[in-house]
Symmetry: D2
Subunit: 337 residues, 4 copies
Amino acid sequence: MISIAVIGCGRIGRMHAANVARHPGARLTAVYDVVEASSKSVAEETGARAAASLEEVLDAGDVDALLVASLTETHADLIERGAKAGKAVLCEKPIDLDIKRVDRCAEAIQGLDVPIQIGFNRRFDPGHSAVRAAAAAGEIGDLHQVIITSRDPGMPSRDYIAHAGGLLRDMTIHDFDMARFMLMEEPVEVFAVAEALIDPELGRELDDVDTAMIVLRTESGKMCCINNSRTSVYGYDQRVELMGTHGMLISDNRRPHELRRSSGEGADVGVPYLNFFVERYAEAFMNELSAFVDAVEGRAPVAVGFEDGRKALILAEAAYRSLASGRAVNLSELAEG
Amino acid sequence: MISIAVIGCGRIGRMHAANVARHPGARLTAVYDVVEASSKSVAEETGARAAASLEEVLDAGDVDALLVASLTETHADLIERGAKAGKAVLCEKPIDLDIKRVDRCAEAIQGLDVPIQIGFNRRFDPGHSAVRAAAAAGEIGDLHQVIITSRDPGMPSRDYIAHAGGLLRDMTIHDFDMARFMLMEEPVEVFAVAEALIDPELGRELDDVDTAMIVLRTESGKMCCINNSRTSVYGYDQRVELMGTHGMLISDNRRPHELRRSSGEGADVGVPYLNFFVERYAEAFMNELSAFVDAVEGRAPVAVGFEDGRKALILAEAAYRSLASGRAVNLSELAEG
Amino acid sequence: MISIAVIGCGRIGRMHAANVARHPGARLTAVYDVVEASSKSVAEETGARAAASLEEVLDAGDVDALLVASLTETHADLIERGAKAGKAVLCEKPIDLDIKRVDRCAEAIQGLDVPIQIGFNRRFDPGHSAVRAAAAAGEIGDLHQVIITSRDPGMPSRDYIAHAGGLLRDMTIHDFDMARFMLMEEPVEVFAVAEALIDPELGRELDDVDTAMIVLRTESGKMCCINNSRTSVYGYDQRVELMGTHGMLISDNRRPHELRRSSGEGADVGVPYLNFFVERYAEAFMNELSAFVDAVEGRAPVAVGFEDGRKALILAEAAYRSLASGRAVNLSELAEG
Amino acid sequence: MISIAVIGCGRIGRMHAANVARHPGARLTAVYDVVEASSKSVAEETGARAAASLEEVLDAGDVDALLVASLTETHADLIERGAKAGKAVLCEKPIDLDIKRVDRCAEAIQGLDVPIQIGFNRRFDPGHSAVRAAAAAGEIGDLHQVIITSRDPGMPSRDYIAHAGGLLRDMTIHDFDMARFMLMEEPVEVFAVAEALIDPELGRELDDVDTAMIVLRTESGKMCCINNSRTSVYGYDQRVELMGTHGMLISDNRRPHELRRSSGEGADVGVPYLNFFVERYAEAFMNELSAFVDAVEGRAPVAVGFEDGRKALILAEAAYRSLASGRAVNLSELAEG
């Protein structure tokens, strides 16, 4: 049983706090948010105490670990401060939007022997993880192609987008991690096309994109294509396909139940997909937490480490360079600056 | 927030206790089993106290309601004693194997103003309940046919079967309730064929059957066919189909996730269905508990009442008469004795 | 290469004529209909000659076989006359609406060594026949249950119904044959419920029904349920399910292609099922013809014989007796008159 | 009714000859192959005459059109000679492996007013064409992404590959055409990765590849990804997905029938996909022929013209340049040589 404090009590923090509160291996001792009303409200819902300050949390003797769900710009700082205070940290993605800040963070925590886990929750989805396990067990022989389809149900607010660091760092970051997870080999080359097709204003005003296709290649020639869209009117579209010498594995979309309607309009029509990440990845978030508890308890190594967070961001960097140049970008180019 | 004591700490009692313990609207205060070790073990897992006797539970000031999951032969007695002690009761099916005992129980509790709910959990399955809701909302126009397929993954032990009261009272009882729930009109006639096809010894030794088809007819001519089998090697098979003037509704089987495999052996092969009722109806059991909490709190009427438990048993009685006579049995014949 | 004459140039005769014309093992030499315009029109479409009379066809030296697609009341007569003229006969179902006429026909053709095949086309459907082949090969172990769902897309005209001989002889006759085909053992007992639910006027005016559930039982205890409806707004619904000790086999509905639509209205929505028998059983009708050609050429025994046509009708008779009596009717009762 | 001669009597020519023979709007008058035994055998099967020479076919008064199914290196020549002889031509893809030869052919036939159709049969597949029709009708709003999955069931012979012109000209050429068909706007940029992953020897000996991912971009920013593999152990994998502002359209794989097996090994397992192009695209080849007949009869414009064949080849050229350079290649670069 470990004691966890949740930092950040917005939408995702609230979900994490509820998960910690009902997890059999964890106790939610404290919650903190710069907005006092938010921490108080989550504290009330969960029975945890609302900490008055971050320092209070970091000094607390009954806090073994931090679950960081605050704004992106605070992540690296909280990882450093938590780790120095001897707290394990489960930090939402991304570590930071700036790879240099991530690198400084890596240096700062070097040698500190605390578990740091990055919140790539999708690795823990029952379907995605079963695909990976089957591929890792050799079920499809040599892996050749990975196709990741990842489309959000609806465009976030203009304000959110303005601070999100761009589609590839904000949304595709999950798919870059999924690509590394499924390829089981580091990508060495990235090619990207991306456009503001859904909302051309977005492109003009914020220099951002909403639709993308990205191809990754590994040293041994494995290929991965990521298909992204900010808007999918038919629901949250989350699919992973692996193709190899002995077969194919697909983790398909999920529905809340298997009602099928037949009428003059159509036959065997299923209900809509699970709506968005809170619903679609509900089990994944709980499994992610279990993996973190296991790592903190020393029962298992950290499942998704700081370096995984860093490497996903590097792939985003490479993709932006590819967008700018129209070339496939080799990751070695980034190392050179 | 209501306080619940779970009576009976076997397989199903243990599951119910865990559900109560994590339900946001309920508190598990006590558990009791005639086998002390069982209550102690469940008490330890859930943090509830292990009551030393049934009397202790019935007298307890911090017990608003009983969740009865003990042996069938104790159900009617516990409903009576609980109700007389002013406790609400959520009782596992069936109320009793003997319709006369059920009738005496009905008399005993008459006029006692406590919620009594019978554990027909399948009504609360998201898929089945969505089918019923759509039909009740008129989506398929006039309902004409209901087809219920209900096959258990494997034959229970000979010992279990010897005390279960026969296939139709033990297993089909759920389907009789499902038929009433979906038909939205009382069946007036029952015809049954049943055989010991899986295990002919069963027929000879215990005079029981393992495979059945039962047709129900309502006053207005709606028809329902129930297909039962004690063994389904491909997994727990739980489907409901409704056909009406404007369409068809199906609640289909569920899988734990949507991994699909393609190999030289086959393409698009899904993972096995959820194994048995604990997995398949996990949400249903929680929803059933929520409905009970709502009824006890006075927020909603009892969703599945004592009379529902009684009527399902009467359908089983009629089906046994049909088996014996080779005729469709009208329920009015049973009323006459 | 055999020479075939098609008798009856209505909707089904026209389809058969076109099939014969393009079958690699058959030649369409003549067509005949009492309505001269019909035979002329089909003759023109197919290049065959329009015979002026039935006698002309029966006397023709270039006619090896008759394909009888005329009105039901002419079937038995044409089988007798064809067989006596030494012509093989492929006759649409049913042989006659009156079992006594069928029996007289059986006597009349006794000893005549010509292939007589009855048009139970569904046996030749690729899906249905694959199910039967797998079951016959022991793939699902001992067969226990068969479920046949058979629903026509829309109610035929009042005039058609008035002459069709009742739902069970006109429509269910196909399902009775399918039941025998799939059970691989003769049913000994029949129980039926049937109602005029779609069109209650139908019941009052023509004493017919439009919705039915029929349970068949074989000597060894195998069970079959047939679900019928004259109207299925979501399309022609033709499914067969076999359940046995080692598994289940389903022959499901078919679509013309695998377009799936996803929109705000729903995800993964398929196109409507193939509309009605001409489309759904197009391959089946061609395969039926191939089987007939093989039988006439002596390469294979007759696949669906006169006795199969007779037995399906006997099951319909038994079902009508069951309807009238509310009892399961044993086929031995019919033998007794 | 038009008269067609089939040139080339190998595997595909034989299929085309059979299609012409049974097409209601066409007559197969002659067949020709440089190997006399081949033309004789096809002639015998179809009742057409085996022409002794190409000249005989070109001079024949009873030949309105050529269906060219001979070796790739003869295509351009036959198009030229056929067109000059006033014959309409339906020519299998590709026009030639060398874009310069294609350009010379274009010049040679300029001004000759005969229908020239290129054999991109997939455009006529019922599922693919329904997807395209729905998208063209605006059903999914603005089109953003196209994903084409195209995997052959097994590696062709080393000898075939040696003369096929490389994966992208031989196999992907179909997908380049499908991309243009679905995008409904010309691609302006091509990026490709490709490897010899299935058979690395192939790469070393023949400098060819067997696995590829290709990204196309149009002027307005629409994106398309093509996924290719020479070997798919689970069967011929032919899928097309279109994503737009109002929804998604998928043309999925097809099976010969809808038998689904459930056993201890798995539940609801479908039969294998239709094996390869002859089976999968059987309807497509017939529809392609109908479109050609319509064009020759003047009832419709040519559905897939010479220019379509040329443009697909240009995309293959661009893809090879991209492979060599690691850059996205703009089609304008090719124009410049």
